[in-house]
Structures are given as structure tokens and as C-alpha cells.
Symmetry: C2
Subunit: 219 residues, 2 copies
Amino acid sequence: MALAEQSLSTLNNLKTREEMVADAIRRAILTGQFKPGEKLDQQDLANNLGVSRSPIREALRTLAAEELVTNFAHRGVVVTTRTRAELEELLFIRMMLEGAAARRGAESMNRAQIAVLEKIVLAGETSNDTQELLQLNNDFHNGIYEAFSQPVLITHIQQLRNKIAPYNRVYLELEGRKEEAWAGHRRIYEACVEADGSAAEAETKLHLEQVFDGILQAQ
Amino acid sequence: MALAEQSLSTLNNLKTREEMVADAIRRAILTGQFKPGEKLDQQDLANNLGVSRSPIREALRTLAAEELVTNFAHRGVVVTTRTRAELEELLFIRMMLEGAAARRGAESMNRAQIAVLEKIVLAGETSNDTQELLQLNNDFHNGIYEAFSQPVLITHIQQLRNKIAPYNRVYLELEGRKEEAWAGHRRIYEACVEADGSAAEAETKLHLEQVFDGILQAQ
DNA sequence: ATTCTGCATATTGTATACAATATACACATA
DNA sequence: TATGTGTATATTGTATACAATATGCAGAAT
């Protein structure tokens, strides 16, 4: 094994089991492998991931604080389910934060960042794979938000999106929604090209409103 | 022991040790008993709270996800410290969310809720005890936000305030800040009386800006 | 004197053992 | 049959034992 690879692997192993377990379960929830309402058995998780219940339990506390799972004392952990009203609240908050972030992003993007964004838009407009589209959607928004240095805001937005993620998988498969979403992305992209913060904010809010409409419709 | 008391006590004991521990440590951080940067020794906590390390560790994972503490693998947990830039970001987010919440609150408060708010304002204007003023400040804002039913938004705001709490204790002791803060509260209160959402939002943002100015000045 | 090396120690991370609670089912009772 | 009660069982919650890592200091090397 090459040294570089070895040290890289060693670095990865520096992550504790608790961290790796939390990442694995979080990923499973975000990708829809574990669905809302599904019970997560600690011993099963431990067996599947090859660790004891200790790091499993600690990881579940982390995920519970992120509201991706809900813990019922003595009864177990389930993937969080959300009412329509709760989703609406989350979507409202997300609109405020992402609107503000888009404004700042559009005002501070450089050419290289815009070029990356353009490639993502083109890829999104032509792709038809749901999994890939979800990834491109993430890349697009992150491409804007990472243009400026507000790590706290970005983290908050990401966590909000995670909370909604289990509910926006169905949405993209609705007729016409995919095209609608990427038309919105293109308008936001164009606002970025012109460094027009107000337009970026307005288009982002409009775009999210359409997305949310689809998500709520799918419930 | 009276039956009512007993059953109440039993209900309280239904809380797991992990929950009680998390509450205790969270409270200690929010009240300034544990200060930013302070290391939290697991065994010490276990001894002081009369439990084993297991519930302590799980509680610390919860608090870490809330960003009240920061975990360094194999090195321990410390109360989270924040840079000025991070505080500014948190304050910015809080302004957006609390502004929106104040608008909705002002538009939906009933007479009883307004009467409660008035008492809080009067108490705040006359009190001089820092601890009490912090509590009254909480009560005032919660009094508005709980007037409407948006539990998700309220939770988010509360968590944001918790993240900042360790840094806003010094502020109230700065000359003139206490009066400034309660003058702001009164203006927000008056906007609520008139059910003027726009004014409530504007006054809340103004109020928070002043508070933030004080917090940042104290750093 | 300063820097490096290696070991001792303390603390955290993980596994396992044990206790407490909730659930389900059998059985009794009306 | 329907309802209630008790007990067995499975799962979670907690304590303890053990492993792994980081830290600090003693002593060596320069």
C-alpha cells in the first residue's frame, strides 16, 4: 500500500466508531433507505455495522438532537415523522435563510464559481436520474452558499434541508416538477451572473415556493 | 406524602437519567455556571450527578449536536467557544427568525396574552437583578412567540438563543444597556397592542441590533 | 540549554453485563 | 365475547470492565 493511501486511511480511522455510525445512519435516512416512522433496533444496527450498542446509542442521541430520529424512552428510536404543518414551518424557515444566503452568494461569486454553477445547471437540465438530480440540486445550492464565508448559516441551512429530505424524494417524480425546478435554478444562476442579489433572493424564494408546493402536494 | 405529589414525582422520575443529565448540564451552561472553554470531565460529572458515565456520555452527545459543547475525540468535551464572526452569524440568523416571529405574534395576540406581556415589561423596567432580568427577557420574547402556533420556529429560535446565551451575560451589566433593552421591549409591546405586525418586526430587529451591538462590544 | 524519545498515567472510547421498563400473550373473570 | 390481570419476554437504559489514545514528564542525545 502506498504511503499516501495508508496515512489517508489512518486519518479516516481516526474517526471514532460513534462518528462513523452517525454518518452511516444519517446517510441512510437522507437517501431514503430508512424511511419516516421506521423503527431502528439498536442491536440490529450494532450487528449490521459491526460495533457494540455503545457507539450506536451515542450516535442515535446525536441524530435525535438533529431531529432526524425521535427517541421514545424505553420504547426505541424511530425515523422522525413530520406533520404537514411541521413541514410547512420548516419550509418557511428555509425560505428566509436560503433567500438571504442566495442574496449574499450572488453578490460575492467569482468567475470560477459561476463556471462551476453553469456546469451543474446544464447537467441538471439534461439528467433524468432521481438520485443524481438530488445530488445536483444539492451541489447547485451549495455552490452558491459556499461562495461566501458564512459557515454557521450554511450549517443551519443544511440541517434544515436534512430535516425535510426524507419528504422530498417523491416530489421530483411528479410530472413536470423536474423541469420547473431546473428552470428556477437557471434563473437563479442568471441572477448570480449579473451579481444581482435582490433577484437571486427573489428567484430563490420563488423556486423554493414551487418546490415546497410539490413536496406538500406529495404528502 | 400526598398522593398527588407522589404521582407527580413518579412522573418526573420517568425521565431517564440521560435526559435529567442533559437538562442539568444545559442549564449549567445557560446560567453561566459552566463557561465557554471550560473542560467537562466525564467522571467528575458522573460523580457530581450520582450516575455512571453512560448517561453522561449520551447527554454530552445531545448537547454537542445542539452546539452547546464541542467534543474533541479522545481529548474531551469543552463548553463551546465562539469567535466574533460566528456570533455575528448567529445574531444575523436570529434577527431574521425573530423578526418574522414577532410579526406573526403581534398579529395574533389576544387580550390576555397582551396583559401578561404588559406585566413583564413593567417588571423588566423596574428590576435590577441580572438573573431576573435574563428570565424576564426570555419571558417577554416567549410571550410573543407563543401567541401563535409555530412550535418548530419557536424551537429553532430558542436553540439559537441558547447558542448565544453564554455570551450575553456580561452585556446587561454595561452602562445604560438595560434601560435601552427595555425601552425596545416597550416599543415592541406597543406594536403588539396595536396588532401592527410590520412595526413589531421592525422594532424587534432594531432591538436585537442594539442588543447584539452590546454583546459584540462586550467580547 | 534545548530538543527529542519513550514510557507512565489519566482520560476517553468501546464492549459487555446487568437492571428496568414496555409489550404481548395467556388466562381468568364478568 | 369482552375486559381485565398477571406473567414471560424482548428491548431499552445504566453500570462496569476493558481497550485505545493523548498528555506530561523523565531522561538521553545534540
